[in-house]
């Protein structure tokens, strides 16, 4: 039930941790302070380590950065790029918000879909973008994910997906909610055709996306430290009036409770995905 959405400034690195400090310019080279170890890291170093701090903290990453990291060079071909959100309920402020987010993020919607090769293996790939209304799912995201699974089924391709989402997009009301059922049905058809689906949870994965296509993969990987859950931690604290355990809803906690297969640090993701794809 976390439907949190907010805007972030344009710089991709600014999409990092919720408590990330602004980039410091005083040391000559631009730096960013890690919200986990509180040490400054030169931006150049952060870039060369897939936006992972030496302490292991995974900064948030936008969709295009991930595609560059995961897909074999030059192999990504985008699909369904023209599908964008409307404002079906005439929800106040939504049209303006979409325009602003599109301008800031450079993306048309909160998910980028296409085909790619990973370690030489062809697959369908979807990558959600935390910079686009925190990866929330409205009609356009639902339509693109559904269309991708249908395409993958037709072409008999595996699907690899990176999820990041605050949940359903409340500005599209019931139409957003129904995307949970629509995407799940498409995943089921793809699955019943004997095809592989691997999902990678990245921070955060909550609400209606966790409770639909994100959790329905054959193999579930999670980036270390990612928040994975249904209800948001703040809502749970307010409802139960109880302090939450420190590691509550973190990838490690979710692994312990049996809801993901393994942790996949960014530096090992491509290799692990390649091995998994090759095993099928």
């Amino acid at each position: 039930m976390a439907f949190i959405q907010f805007l972030k400034p344009k710089n991709a690195l600014e999409e990092g941790g919720r408590t990330a400090a602004p980039i410091q310019q005083d040391a000559g080279e631009p730096e960013k302070t890690c919200p986990n170890c509180h040490k400054p890291i030169p931006l150049s170093r952060l870039w060369s380590s897939y936006l992972v701090c030496p302490c292991g903290y995974h900064f948030r990453m936008n969709a295009r950065q991930r595609i560059t990291m995961i897909a074999d060079k030059g192999s990504f071909l985008e699909l369904f790029a023209g599908i964008v959100s409307d404002n079906p309920l005439q929800f106040p402020g939504y049209t303006e918000k979409l325009e602003t987010v599109q301008n800031i993020s450079g993306e048309a919607e909160a998910v980028v879909c296409g085909t790619a090769e990973i370690g030489g293996r062809k697959c369908c790939l979807f990558v959600m973008d935390p910079g686009f209304m925190m990866g929330s799912m409205g009609s356009a995201v639902g339509e693109k994910i559904t269309a991708l699974f249908e395409y993958a089924m037709q072409k008999r391709l595996p699907v690899v997906g990176f999820t990041v989402s605050g949940g359903a997009r409340m500005q599209e009301g019931l139409l957003s909610l129904m995307q949970m059922a629509k995407t799940s049905a498409a995943v089921k058809r793809h699955s019943d055709a004997g095809l592989l689906y691997i999902a990678v949870f990245t921070d955060p994965a909550t609400g209606g996306v966790t409770a639909s296509f994100a959790m329905e993969a054959d193999i579930l990987l999670a980036e270390p430290g990612a928040t994975i859950g249904f209800a948001g931690a703040r809502v749970i604290e307010q409802t139960t009036k109880k302090a939450l355990p420190k590691e509550f809803q973190k990838a490690e906690f979710v692994l312990q409770h049996g809801f993901v297969d393994t942790l996949a640090p960014r530096s090992t993701q491509k290799q692990l995905l390649t091995r998994l794809l090759n095993a099928h």
Partner: protein, 262 residues
């Protein structure tokens, strides 16, 4: 105008409205309750079992809020835990095995929000129901009788026919939650309720439901008799349909409104 949808929200939440068990007891005969998810526990927020609808046996599954303070607390105010959704799925699979139709009554403010629910995979439980219901090979009819709160409601509403009582609501988020996130002010719930388009009339216009059931004589014999007849008629038609599963896919496949940008 903004007042009206929120007034419906209040009606939908009224503790004196008939609850899931009232529908089960008044519409069906020979109800035999079947407990437990066979994994961890029995969730009292979801009641399920076998029952007779006129001349056929059905599997009936209902969210139950309770009426009195004690009942409501025992039923967790109709907010199911993962075990509730897993029990529902177990009973649906059982219905499929024996060729029985499934009738669901939906009434929840949302799936239970708490530490235990998260530890035991609330998101996974809902996701699995959405996936499995999409290909269940027997007719499924879901009726929203009060609150249809988000994914927690949808987990019992991936159906061939979805109906709503005229004062039920169905929404992606509570008006209070929406107002608090968007406008940092939960007191703007009335405004949010109007924006969210959560009434039965809205849901029908958006193509989310097939039928609105009037609340004339709510909770009295003629009211339940009407629903019983409507269910029996609809099942008759659905049972003859050889394309039930593909049609259910298409039912959800077409929902959504997008633009094409070149």
């Amino acid at each position: 105008m903004n007042q009206i949808p929120y007034a419906v929200v209040k009606l939908a939440r009224d503790s004196q409205r008939p609850t899931g068990l009232d529908y089960i007891q008044n519409i069906f005969a020979d109800f035999i309750e079947l407990h437990g998810d066979r994994r961890y526990a029995d969730d009292p927020a979801i009641v399920g079992g076998l029952a007779r609808l006129q001349d056929r046996y059905v599997t009936v599954i209902a969210m139950e809020k309770g009426h009195t303070a004690k009942q409501r607390s025992c039923r967790n105010f109709g907010a199911p835990h993962p075990e509730g959704y897993r029990k529902a799925l177990r009973l649906m699979k059982q219905a499929e095995k024996f060729g029985r139709p499934v009738i669901c009554f939906v009434d929840t403010s949302g799936a239970s929000c708490g530490i235990g629910a998260e530890e035991r995979g609330q998101g996974q439980a809902i996701a699995e129901n959405l996936m499995e219901l999409s290909t269940l090979c027997v007719p499924v009819i879901s009726i929203l009788i009060g609150e249809g709160g988000s994914g927690g409601a949808l987990a019992l509403a991936v159906a061939d026919r979805v109906w709503m009582l005229s004062n039920a609501v169905y929404s992606v988020i509570s008006p209070e939650g929406c107002a608090s996130i968007l406008w940092k002010d939960s007191k703007k719930a009335e405004e949010a309720a109007a924006c969210l388009k959560l009434t039965a009339g809205d849901a029908l216009r958006l193509g989310i439901i097939e039928r609105i059931l009037p609340e004339t004589e709510l909770g009295e014999k003629p009211f339940y008799d009407r629903i019983r007849r409507a269910l029996a008629e609809e099942l008759e038609a659905l049972e003859k349909d050889p394309d039930l599963v593909p049609k259910r896919y298409d039912r959800f496949r077409r929902i959504g409104q997008v633009k094409e940008r070149t």
